[in-house]
Amino acid sequence: MEVNVEARRILAVSISKLYASRTQRGGLRLHRSLLLSMVMRSARDIYHSSRETEGQTSEEPMETSSKEGCDSEITEDKENMSPTKQSRKRRGKASAAPDFLPSKRARLEPGEERYAAPMGSWRFDPPPTHIAHQGADLHQRSRDRGITGTMVQALRSI
């Protein structure tokens, strides 16, 4: 929980910094924007994966038997997952957009959920216990993958 709160706070701080940097004299600084985006990506990865874990823990009795199957299915694209399983994960708090994100962010309509893949496919990792002990995995992903989402919009303007 703490990890999630921390990740969310860092995400909020990062987004406000990114928006503030658009208005500073001299224009957007590429180096700074890149570093901000890296922190945002790490925070977002942790935030989403800890929310997934929350969803996972609450439905554990129903899913333990099919967890093995889940792993390989999840690495396939999400379109092939059964809609019912998908919607179980996404109901309630998880389906609402996080409140610190700007209101213009695209929201998921109920019928579109099964096409949603916020970060592409990923393996189910054990829930993180502390930000500092994330291990190589998350950071390796963030290192390999380029910038996405709002950062692209910001950087394309350069």
């Binding site: 004299r25 180096h31 291990g135 190589a136 950087l155």
Partner: protein
């Protein structure tokens, strides 16, 4: 064992010499010092500021009356190097802040330096005038032409002494070559060419030619979404005119040889230290970004500065640095707060002393650190108005990291993160250092007996 000029910290005691700049606590943004550089002889000391101005100080010759003191630095020339500009195509203002100054080696009576803002590099000539022609035949002393009817004799003007005047004139303007923000410039040992680097590209210029430059490094990906690192600094080797290095935001340094090919996208050597997995955090990537790279005077080593440490690399070994010095390790547990207050993005510079035995870099609370490579000692000193009595010896400072704070120690939470020393310079031959706080320039000298 090095003694005398450029000696180790165990020999040297530092004294306050001078401080330049306003005393007010209220700092005008234009007065914020953004770069400090000694020339090759150490006689001249240049500073650049956020307002686009360059101020050059000149060392007075040593006085026979006070052999204990090396000469003081007094203002020699001040000029407006860059003005704010507006890029109409992108609707962006181009800041006039001077990012870097580099001196050219002196070839004749005049001095030359390169100064750069985010987009444009300029070559300035600083020359002295101490004579002027007087006694024109057709002109009055004030320059007005005389009525020809009053001219009855012929005379030839002669040069007569006048008060020394120092003039700075822009001799070259190197513009429109950088899409991104210029972060460093470096003059080649051949004295004919120089490099300028922005976030993604490095250009090679000839000092005589302003209308074109040669792009030799380009790390811009075809798809900007795949961008993972930027160039943070570049420097030519001090005596091999074909070799230069550039550092990146990922903590790597690449050495390139211009003889190998025209485009230096492929490096000859890559220096990188594997990350310690125990130190992993959210902010690992930010703190590993290199903010400065400097070759030793010998050319055998290079030094890099990242957020928490200074590393010395042997050019013959790419796998890890030969020495690592922790500048302010006590900040590692505070990275989240430093991210929130933006301090984690501060770009500290570093410098070598004349004989490469000591390195220096800045920190917060107006502290700066020196690391003696030979004696394996380090010292923390402070640049403050409280310690500014002439020739007063600077007392070493200490930051307490444990629970118990000893007397005279300062706790991490009491550090003033608005008082940062980003720019320092060391005289190339003597133990004289220039340390820039936000808007003041401190000059310290070795205590001589």
């Amino acid at each position: 064992v090095a003694c005398g000029a450029g000696g180790g910290t165990s020999d040297v005691q530092w004294c306050f010499s001078q401080v330049k700049g306003a005393i007010d606590d209220d700092v005008a943004e234009a007065d914020i010092i953004s770069t400090v550089e000694f020339n090759h002889s150490g006689e001249l000391l240049a500073t650049g500021d956020k307002g686009g101005r360059v101020v050059i100080f000149q060392q007075e010759p040593e006085s026979k009356n006070q052999p204990q003191c090396r000469g003081e630095y007094n203002v020699y020339s001040t000029f407006q190097s860059h003005e704010p500009e507006f890029d109409y195509l992108k609707s962006l203002e181009i800041e006039e802040k001077i990012n870097k100054i580099r001196w050219l080696p002196q070839k004749n009576a005049a001095q030359f330096l390169l100064s750069t803002n985010d987009k444009t590099i300029k070559l300035w000539k600083i020359s002295e005038r101490d004579k002027r022609p007087e006694g024109y035949n057709l002109k009055e002393e004030d320059g007005r032409y005389r009525d020809l009817n009053t001219v009855t004799t012929l005379r030839v003007p002669v040069f007569r002494p006048m008060d020394l005047m120092v003039e700075a004139s822009p001799r070259r303007v190197f513009a429109n070559a950088h899409t991104y923000h210029v972060n460093s410039i470096s003059v080649n040992s051949d004295c004919e060419t120089y490099l300028s680097a922005d976030d993604l590209r490095i250009n090679l210029w000839n000092l005589e030619i302003t209308d074109r430059s040669f792009n030799i490094v380009d790390i811009k990906p075809t798809n900007m979404e795949e961008l993972t690192e930027v160039i943070t600094a570049v420097e030519f080797h001090p005596n091999q005119c074909n070799t230069f290095v550039y550092s990146s935001s990922k903590g790597t340094i690449r050495l390139c040889d211009m003889r190998a090919s025209a485009l230096c996208d492929k490096h000859a050597k890559q220096f990188e230290e594997p990350e310690d997995p125990n130190n992993r955090s959210f902010f690992s990537e930010i703190i590993s970004s290199i903010s400065d790279v400097k070759f030793s005077h010998s050319g055998r080593y290079m030094m890099t500065r990242d957020y928490l440490s200074v590393k010395i690399w042997d050019l013959n070994m790419e796998s890890r640095p030969v020495e690592t010095y922790q500048v302010h390790e006590y900040l590692r547990s505070k990275l989240c707060s430093l991210y929130e207050n933006d301090c984690i993005f501060d770009k500290f510079e570093c410098c070598w002393n004349g004989n490469d035995s000591v390195v220096m870099t800045g920190s917060y609370n107006n502290f700066f650190r020196m690391f003696d490579r030979g004696y394996r000692q380090d010292v923390t000193l402070e640049a403050s108005r409280e310690n500014s009595k002439p020739r007063s010896v600077l007392k070493p400072r200490k930051v307490s990291t444990g629970g118990k704070r000893k007397k005279d120690e300062i706790s991490v939470d009491s550090l003033d993160f608005n008082k940062k020393i980003l720019h320092t310079a060391w005289h190339p031959l003597d133990n004289i250092i220039a340390v820039a706080t936000t808007n003041n320039l401190y000059i310290f000298q070795e205590k001589l007996n």
